[in-house]
């Protein structure tokens, strides 16, 4: 704990009169940190002396005398760990826990004692275990329906201590077995006396269920419902519950005349449970009619809220609820007196027509909103707030909305205990609303107490808090803080507790941290790289202040990549600093001809800043430098001297990114759009002069549940200037492959020389996908891709766009879908293949 935090919590600052009340409160605040055993505040003339004694920490934990239980097992039973502050109560609780566990494991005489050997700052805790003589199993006696399989489920053997946990495990396994076999009413009992375990197994009856008279519903649906009930027991009450549930299922499907008769037949170890079902006719709602006194209203809004809507099965059980739903709907429209006074059901050829006769009454409007505010606190502002509701349609919901607005307003101003009572009167079809408001005392923020952070620095958390001492208390600020702290990714739980002291409120933040380090690895298969793997090591709480480091290695037959990225999310205010070192070694090949186009080894580094301009909109500025070596280049794809040998590129890149997708791995709605421009120039030490600009615009729309339409437009252009005539092959654009135009193999679209793709300086591409859920995490995707690459801007010709269509299968995983796509060329050239198949992970866009 820093001196700064200590004095802040103690509320002691220089040149301020000392208040005994404040000091006393300060001591209590400091104690909440669970660090101190004593704090003494002394005054000597004008000098204040603070003396403290910390609770010692636990330096090591030892076990003595344990013969049959190893230290690792015992350590798991403790309530504390090394580094915690010493608390005698926790030692007692742990001793009890060990004793109880050992007792259950067959050592009923076990005794546990502990002692502590403490220096000034730390303690060694020693537990002395006296296990005692175990209860040894001398014989296992089986009674009842002994079965070899069931006997095999018992992991206890003769000669071993009588371990009750193993007996409990045996009972559980037997019950699971009986349930799977459809056997009910079994009993499993055991006792232990003088070294003998007596196990009495009584196998119950096997239940055979049959449905007679089922024609229109699926037997599987009935069985599924039944299985939820058939667990350990079967008695009259359970049969009644099953029958009622079956009736409800039939009602739900339009069988309002359903009759079900359960019959139970017992034979030895068999129960035949037969449900004789008289389904009756299935009735479908043809239409519903609403007959109002005066008004006319669109039926489609009503249809959305009722169960018995047109074309759905007639559900007699829901008819009364539907009446209530319609009445509530009308009341929400201001028809305060709305009532359905008659419901007629007309049936013809199993088609149902329902006529609801409605007396809607007059639509009520708000005439006045009267405010009675204690001490008239902020009356003018509340008046302004409620003014907009005058003459609005009156509903119970609107009354609650106004009340919520008033409470919200006062709470934001520091009146945390505001009390608002409301009532209304309706006269001559007009509503008169009355609010009686008692704002209570205004409360102010006092101190913030940070607890539970072991790795994260307290100072870092203080810097992330928005509320300020002595400012009016506002619970909404605390929620914003909580959200902002969660966004750091450091915490799994943040409890915010208010501690009131007169008109001031201390805020206690109690944190639970997530492990800051992670290690991930994986293997995959891509049509281009074949087998590939990756390994990632990350730590997101460097120095306890949320600085982050990620290192990643990717390996495949044709590629080796590694990178180290360092991120400081709190570089300055909300400015994020990022820097990275990267290495890549790859062989780029023409997947069609299997020819190696070139081999590349590149070292690169970047450093830059990211700033969030709006909630979903951010800007990035990076400096990038790369040193590449290209060799073994196929002569056909050489466009200039710079395609061969070593090259240094240095420049700045600016990016603007908008992203409001609901889920980056599997978006259902939202936009992802970006524009980036990279300027490489001799001024920055680069051997090449160019300006590369690219953009992407992706939109995701959920048309229906489980059906997503995704569309994307992407493009890029490299403008060369100065002495640069051509981009080296590693900087040129290529299209074709799993994420671009899927009818073509990886990087094979665009300008070619002797059938080898050379890449180009301009590309344009569009993609459309219809992603349909098949259930159980499977999706089918229909797509249409279009795009091409050209050498120069002047060569761009939309009529030369290449179109491909296809279908793909996806399996959803937490890191994006595993996919296989089949792309088919729509304007195939002579000599080109008809189609391509791609395997990979993640959506194409």
């Amino acid at each position: 704990m820093s001196q700064e935090e200590f004095l802040y919590l103690l509320d002691l600052t220089n040149k301020r009169e000392i208040s005994k009340e404040a000091i006393s409160e300060g001591i209590k605040r400091l104690f909440l940190k669970d660090i101190f055993e004593d704090i003494i505040i002394e005054k000597n003339n004008k000098k204040i002396t603070i003396r403290v004694k910390e609770k010692p920490t636990i330096k090591s934990i030892k076990f003595e005398g344990n013969e049959n239980f190893d230290d690792k097992f015992l350590r798991k039973l403790l309530n504390f760990k090394i580094g915690d502050r010493l608390k005698i109560v926790e030692l007692k609780k742990s001793s009890n826990h060990i004793r109880e566990t050992l007792k259950k494991k067959g050592y009923p005489e076990s005794q546990i004692t502990f002692n502590t050997d403490c220096s000034q700052e730390s303690c060694i805790v020693t537990f002395t275990i006296r296990e005692g003589i175990p209860l040894t199993v001398r014989e296992i006696i089986w009674e009842g329906d002994v079965d070899e399989f069931l006997q095999g489920l018992l992991s206890l053997s003769v000669g071993a201590p009588f371990d009750e946990t193993k007996m409990e495990d045996f009972v559980k396994k037997c019950k699971n077995y009986f349930e799977k076999q459809g056997i009910v009413n079994s009993t499993i009992a055991y006792s232990f006396k003088e070294g003998k375990i007596l196990i009495n197994l009584k196998k119950g009856e096997k239940v055979k269920v049959d449905f007679i008279g089922v024609e229109k519903l699926k037997r599987q649906d009935l069985n599924n419902l039944l299985n939820a009930y058939l667990k350990e027991r079967l008695d009259e009450n359970i049969i009644k519950d099953i029958t009622n549930s079956l009736i409800s299922l039939y009602y739900l499907n339009g069988f309002s005349e359903i009759k079900i008769y359960p019959i139970l037949e017992k034979q030895d170890k068999m129960i035949n449970l037969i449900f004789v079902i008289n389904e009756g006719k299935r009735k479908i709602i043809e239409d519903i009619y609403l007959k109002f006194d005066e008004i006319k209203m669109e039926k489609k809004d009503i249809n959305k809220i009722i169960i018995n809507s047109p074309n759905s099965p007639f559900n007699l059980e829901e008819l009364e609820n539907d009446k209530k739903r319609i009445e509530d709907f009308l009341k929400a429209q201001g028809y305060y007196y709305a009532k359905i006074y008659q419901t007629e059901i007309k049936e013809e050829d199993e088609k149902i027509k329902i006529i609801f006769k409605v007396s809607e009454g007059k639509q009520i409007k708000i005439k006045t909103i009267n405010l009675e505010i204690a001490n008239e606190v902020m009356k003018d502002r509340v008046w302004e707030l409620t003014k907009e509701f005058n003459n609005k349609i009156f509903t119970e919901e609107i009354l609650l909305e106004i009340k919520r607005k008033i409470i919200d307003f006062y709470q934001r101003q520091g009146y945390a205990e505001v009390n608002v009572k409301s009532h209304y009167e309706i006269n001559n079809d007009e509503a008169y609303i009355f609010f009686i408001i008692n704002p209570g005392e205004r409360k102010y923020f006092k101190k913030s107490i940070i607890l539970g952070n072991r790795k994260t620095k307290t100072r870092f958390i203080y810097e992330r808090l928005f509320q300020k001492e002595n400012k009016p208390f506002n619970p909404y600020i605390l929620e914003e803080e909580r959200l902002s702290l969660y966004k750091t990714g450091l915490f799994s739980k943040i409890d915010i507790i208010y501690q009131k002291q007169d008109n001031y409120i201390d805020i206690i933040y109690d944190f639970e941290e997530v492990p800051a380090g992670a290690f991930d690895f994986g293997f995959g298969y891509g049509d281009y790289e074949k087998v590939k793997g990756f390994m990632e090591l990350s730590y997101i709480n460097l120095f306890g202040i949320n600085k982050q480091i990620y290192s990643r290695i990717e390996l495949s037959k044709i590629e080796k990549r590694s990178s180290i990225v360092y991120i400081d999310p709190w570089f300055w205010k909300d400015l994020i600093f990022k820097t990275s070192l990267n290495f890549e070694d790859r062989r780029v090949k023409n997947i069609d001809t299997k020819d190696i186009l070139y081999e590349l080894r590149r070292f690169s580094a970047s450093a830059g800043f990211e700033k969030r301009l709006l909630e979903n909109f951010k800007a990035e500025l990076d400096y990038e430098i790369s040193y590449s070596k290209i060799w073994d280049i196929l002569p056909e794809v050489i466009l200039s001297d710079q395609d061969i040998g070593r090259i240094l590129i240095s420049g700045f890149k600016v990016s603007l990114i908008y992203d409001d997708r609901d889920n980056p791995f599997d978006p259902k709605k939202g936009w992802l759009a970006g524009l980036s421009s990279k300027l490489s120039s001799e001024i920055f030490g680069s051997e090449l002069n160019f300006l590369k600009t690219s953009f992407y615009l992706n939109k995701y729309t959920e048309l229906y549940e489980g059906l997503v339409f995704a569309i994307s437009l992407r493009g890029g252009w490299a403008w060369l200037y100065g002495k640069t005539d051509n981009l080296p092959i590693s900087e040129r654009y290529f299209l074709g492959g799993r994420d671009t135009v899927r009818g073509y193999a990886q990087n094979t679209l665009g300008p070619k020389r002797d059938d080898q793709p050379t890449g180009g300086n301009v590309f344009l591409m569009g993609n459309m996908e219809l992603r349909t859920s098949l259930g159980r995490n499977f999706f089918i995707v229909n797509f249409l891709d279009a795009g091409n690459v050209w050498n120069r801007v002047g060569d761009v010709n939309p009529s030369k766009l290449k179109f491909t269509t296809g279908v793909g299968l996806r399996y959803k995983t937490p890191v994006g879908p595993i996919r296989v796509d089949y792309g088919y060329k729509l304007n195939r050239q002579k000599g080109e293949s008809h189609s391509e198949i791609h395997f990979t992970i993640g959506h194409a866009f």
Binding site: S24, K28, I41, E42, T49, R51
Partner: protein, 157 residues
């Protein structure tokens, strides 16, 4: 910790405040002690400092538990509500027990008929049971808490 100094039993200057005892992460300061002592001495003039501290510890334990259920209200209210909910609501004095007590202690009641003192006996038995249960409950709470008396104030302290 920058202030890792062991406090001497006798400090040289005037003590503004210090910790008298703690219950888990809740400190009881001299200021709290003096205020509570002044109040309690009005009702129990012969109560010792040790008894006062024990009483304060018990109150802290009950308050801590009560705040888990009753978020609103002051300390007294919270403790009262907690005792009502957790202890009083579970005490039932049956008619048989009242009559049994009456029969066993008939000599104390003289000629008074049962019905005339029934309520009085019921209140007495209820209070007796409440005390017993409260003591048991506090004992349970004390076993689950880290309690330490650091310094026992005497005289002005």
């Amino acid at each position: 910790m920058l202030f890792n100094i062991i406090c001497l039993p006798i400090c040289s200057g005037e003590i503004i405040d210090r910790v008298v005892a703690y219950v888990d992460d809740q400190a009881i300061t001299i200021k709290d002690f003096l205020e509570f002592r002044a109040k309690i001495k009005e009702k129990l003039p012969n109560i010792s400092s040790n008894e006062i501290i024990e009483l304060m510890i018990n109150r802290k334990l009950l308050l801590k538990e009560s705040k888990k259920i009753f978020l609103e209200g002051d300390e007294e209210e919270a403790i009262k509500n907690y005792i009502d909910l957790k202890i009083k609501s579970k005490i039932f004095i049956t008619d048989d027990k009242i009559r049994e007590y009456y029969e066993q202690n008939k000599h104390q009641f003289g000629e008074k008929p049962f019905l005339s003192i029934r309520d009085e006996i019921e209140t007495y038995l209820f209070e007796r049971e409440l005390n017993k249960k409260l003591i048991e409950h506090i004992k349970e709470l004390r076993e689950l808490a880290e309690i330490k008396i650091i310094f026992l104030p005497f005289g002005d302290y």
